[in-house]
């Protein structure tokens, strides 16, 4: 009896302790969010800069698009330009002069008006060579911007095509007709900065000043910077000075730079996050079966491909490059290996990029592949190809693809491929030195136009790195840049794609898909090619399932 009483006493204690702990546990972020309208956002990585003119990452975009607003905004579904700071604009007949009429009620977070001279100041800042802005070349579409950026001439002397006609009228003159110009304005490199703040911190041509810290940051977007705890959280809160504050329903967004996708998933499952940045590839199948309401597959403007070094044997011979490409079964790769809804890539530019869909140039024909390789071997008096090294940066996902291709080439062509994984920075330095024969690569578009992909293979482009150059290609791309008629531009783009498919300096494998977890309470969030989601349209609604 005594024993039983003692046991029940212990049990009661345990229950009490657990009950106490349980009662201490506050409702999860997601549960609270219906009330407080705070979005909890998995950011993936800590951004290197919060200065729009120095930023270089997707993480930075996700924050800067809350804090700042450019001349135009984005439609939440199509990303087509909609009025932003500019309430309307005129385009000249030759399509080279854009006149923006700024709204009177556009304000900086401290209440100052956003003016045309602020934009002139901002564009001048990013183009100033001593700032060292990596994305300054985004503004090279402006007339004479390149001359000023190269440091050859002073601002006044260079006569850059940016002019404030009056406080609320801004005129931008372009070097060439650029049909995607308005879309381009949504890249953070075109966002304005608050001149008095920049001057106060002497940040006009200096990086690393504290103007981007929460106490100092003055933006003009729907949210203002509230807190920045490095590697922990960046919080923004709705800004009452924002001209469209009535539309904005979220009261704030908390961005968490969680780098590992497993940790993100755990955070999501416990109601800590509304949206994750990624999903571990091993978990996709499980989540798809168990929680189809959470997992989202959305096309993403990116291509996964391999580079050939056309300067070194055996890839200096087109037949070998072709043989390798023709023996890759891309459909099998995406369906059986990747299993994340990716699309097989038979060209370099993802389908429907700014209306352009390239024809399939890279096919699958192992028989033809074998013939091509045999003819190469015969001409070079070889019995078989010496082993080829395939370089990739260390990652389970890249390894999977590399192993699949290794097997396909072994089966179809009898080629020995040695897989060589490298730490990221070692990989980058090896590839940029041209010290490789075959290497993995990926490219994410900066704006929705084929140019953001095809410029890579220009002869002098810093991203080319294959050693391949082709005058016809360069010419076709220049012609595409200069023509305004969409059909004519697409013909030139197709010419570029055809040249890539016939010369094969690269081996496109698949088009990216953005896989993420998103809580059903997140509304006003639409799949877009650039994974942009204008926050002023986002809100949280509905019953939260525990």
């Amino acid at each position: 009896m005594h024993f039983i009483r003692k046991k029940s006493f212990q049990l009661a204690c345990c229950l009490l302790a657990f009950g106490f702990l349980g009662s201490c546990t506050a409702p999860s972020n997601v549960e609270k969010a219906i009330e407080d309208q705070i979005l909890h956002f998995g950011l993936g990585a800590e951004p290197q800069h919060l200065d729009p003119h120095l930023a270089t990452s997707v993480a930075a975009h996700n924050i800067l698009s809350a804090l700042l607003e450019g001349l135009v905004g984005e439609d939440p579904r199509t990303l087509k330009p909609v009025p932003g700071v500019a309430e309307r604009w005129d385009i000249s007949e030759d399509k080279k002069t854009y006149t923006f009429y700024l709204r009177k009620n556009a304000k900086w977070h401290n209440g100052d008006a956003v003016t045309a001279p602020d934009f002139v100041y901002s564009f001048k800042r990013i183009l100033t060579p001593s700032l060292g802005a990596q994305y300054a070349s985004m503004l090279h579409v402006l007339k004479n911007a390149k001359t000023y950026h190269s440091g050859k001439k002073a601002w006044e002397e260079a006569n850059v095509g940016v002019q404030a006609i009056d406080d609320l009228t801004l005129e931008l003159v372009l070097e060439n007709q650029t049909p995607y110009f308005l879309e381009l304005l949504n890249h953070y490199s075109w966002f304005p900065v608050h001149p008095p703040t920049i001057e106060k911190f002497e940040a006009f041509e200096k990086m690393g000043t504290p103007w981007t810290k929460p106490a100092n940051f003055v933006g003009n977007g729907p949210f203002s910077l509230w807190e920045h705890r490095i590697n922990s959280v960046i919080e923004v809160r709705a800004n009452r000075h924002y001209w469209d504050a009535n539309l904005t329903q979220l009261s704030g967004i908390r961005f968490y730079p969680i780098e590992t996708s497993d940790t993100e998933e755990r955070a999501f499952r416990t109601g800590f996050l509304h949206v994750t940045q990624s999903v571990s590839s091993d978990r996709i199948e499980y989540l798809q079966n168990k929680h189809p309401e959470w997992i989202h597959f959305e096309p993403y403007l990116g291509t996964y491909y391999y580079r050939f070094n056309v300067k070194v044997p055996p890839f200096d011979d087109l037949r070998v490059r072709k043989a390798l490409s023709l023996s890759v079964n891309r459909k099998l790769l995406v369906e059986k290996v990747l299993k994340g809804g990716q699309l097989p890539a038979y060209c370099f530019t993802p389908p429907d990029t700014g209306g352009f869909t390239a024809g399939d140039g890279f096919g699958y024909d192992p028989v033809q592949a074998k013939k091509l390789l045999d003819s190469y071997l015969k001409d070079n008096g070889l019995a078989k190809l010496p082993p080829i090294e395939l370089n990739y940066n260390t990652s389970e996902a890249h390894k999977k693809v590399a192993e699949a291709l290794q097997a396909m080439w072994k089966t179809a062509l009898g080629i020995e491929i040695q897989l060589l994984n490298m730490e990221w920075k070692v990989f980058l330095s090896t590839i940029s030195k041209g010290d490789y024969s075959l290497a993995r690569a990926g490219w994410i578009g900066d704006y929705v136009d084929a140019n953001t992909f095809l410029h890579l293979w220009r002869s002098n482009d810093g991203n080319n790195l294959t050693g391949w150059s082709n005058k016809e290609y360069d010419l076709a791309l220049t012609q595409a840049e200069q023509s305004l008629n969409p059909r004519e531009r697409f013909t030139h783009f197709q010419k570029c794609e055809d040249l890539l498919a016939s010369e094969m300096p690269i081996l496109p494998l698949y088009f990216y898909v953005h896989v993420s977890l998103r809580h059903p309470s997140v509304q006003g969030w639409h799949p877009t090619l650039l994974d942009h989601h204008p926050y002023k349209h986002v809100y949280l609604k509905g019953e939260v399932a525990k």
Binding site: T263, T270, D461
Partner: protein, 306 residues
């Protein structure tokens, strides 16, 4: 004793100097640099970036400059977290790692010491086998397995504790358990070994012969000697605990020092690598010195040797 202390402190200076020099050149000789990225950076921009951080100077000049600044207590700016000083980052991250490390150590001692002592006193019984078996499992079970299991049970299923983050005191519980249980296992095994060794000593036998109770023998006579291996282990272990654990910090999303250290190496964030290495080295030196003191206090033999 005073001499010993002074000489040990003086020894630390050349040690730190050698560590700084080696680390400086090792990071610089690693392939790749802080500004390599998968999108090509125009050459002139790269030069601008390099000159901003003084990387355009000859390597030896950079080294001299770094050492000069170091003497003035300046660890330089981070290359990756632009706008942040290395000392600022350490100031932010160290208190986090310290509180996590201290609570993990507390758990390790709270569980490890009694378990080890009981196992030693009841040698070759279930009181010995069970805790030692669990300890063995604890040592073998990596934190990246234990952490997610604890999260699954206490956060996802029972919803008692937060799964991750560093925002309230409850965030401390699961990570310090994950970290502490591993060390508890070591402490238990070391305590058991130390106690067994001491319990065989003549002076313990004498105490028993004089009729001291088992509890008194343990707590008054044996414990000092028995804990020596644990104390020796605790110095570096504590340094390891408070300097942050990359894995625990990744699993629980904790903004500690370990993450800065490891990601800095991947990012070639030279100044952060150097800053954290030097900080860690200083910490180990200080803690080892403390351990020596404690040992001298616990072990008369060690005191005489000095």
């Amino acid at each position: 004793m005073k001499n010993f202390f002074t000489s040990r402190l003086l020894q630390a200076i050349p040690t730190l100097f050698v560590i700084a020099t080696l680390t400086f050149f090792m990071t610089r000789f690693a392939p790749g640099g802080p500004f390599d990225s998968d999108k090509a950076i125009p050459e002139e921009i790269k030069i601008k970036l390099q000159s901003h951080f003084g990387l355009n100077l000859p390597l030896f000049d950079q080294y001299l400059l770094y050492m000069k600044n170091l003497l003035a207590g300046d660890l330089g700016p981070s290359f990756k977290y632009v706008g942040w000083e290395v000392s600022e980052l350490i100031q932010i991250a160290f208190p986090v790692s310290l509180s996590l490390g201290v609570s993990a150590l507390f758990i390790a001692l709270l569980i490890g010491l009694p378990a080890g002592m009981v196992a030693a006193l009841r040698k070759n019984t279930w009181w010995d086998y069970l805790p030692m078996g669990i300890a063995m499992v604890g040592i073998c079970l990596p934190s990246f397995v234990l952490g997610p299991i604890l999260i699954m049970v206490f956060a996802t299923e029972l919803r008692l504790l937060p799964a991750l983050g560093w925002y309230s005191w409850t965030d401390l519980i699961l990570p310090s358990l994950t970290l502490g249980l591993f060390y508890a296992a070591y402490v238990a095994r070391l305590t058991r070994a130390g106690m067994l060794e001491t319990l065989r000593q003549d002076y313990v036998r004498t105490a028993r012969a004089k009729g001291a109770s088992p509890g008194r023998v343990l707590l008054k006579h044996a414990i000092r000697g028995g804990l020596l291996p644990v104390v020796t282990y605790l110095g570096p272990a504590f340094a390891g605990l408070v300097s942050g654990s990359f894995i625990i910090e990744s699993i629980f999303f904790i903004p500690g020092l370990g993450k800065f250290f490891v990601t800095a190496a991947f990012n070639r964030d030279y100044t952060v690598v150097l800053g954290t290495v030097l900080f860690y080295a200083t910490l180990i030196i200080i803690l080892n010195l403390l351990v020596d003191f404690l040992q001298a206090w616990l072990d008369p033999k060690a005191r005489e040797q000095r």
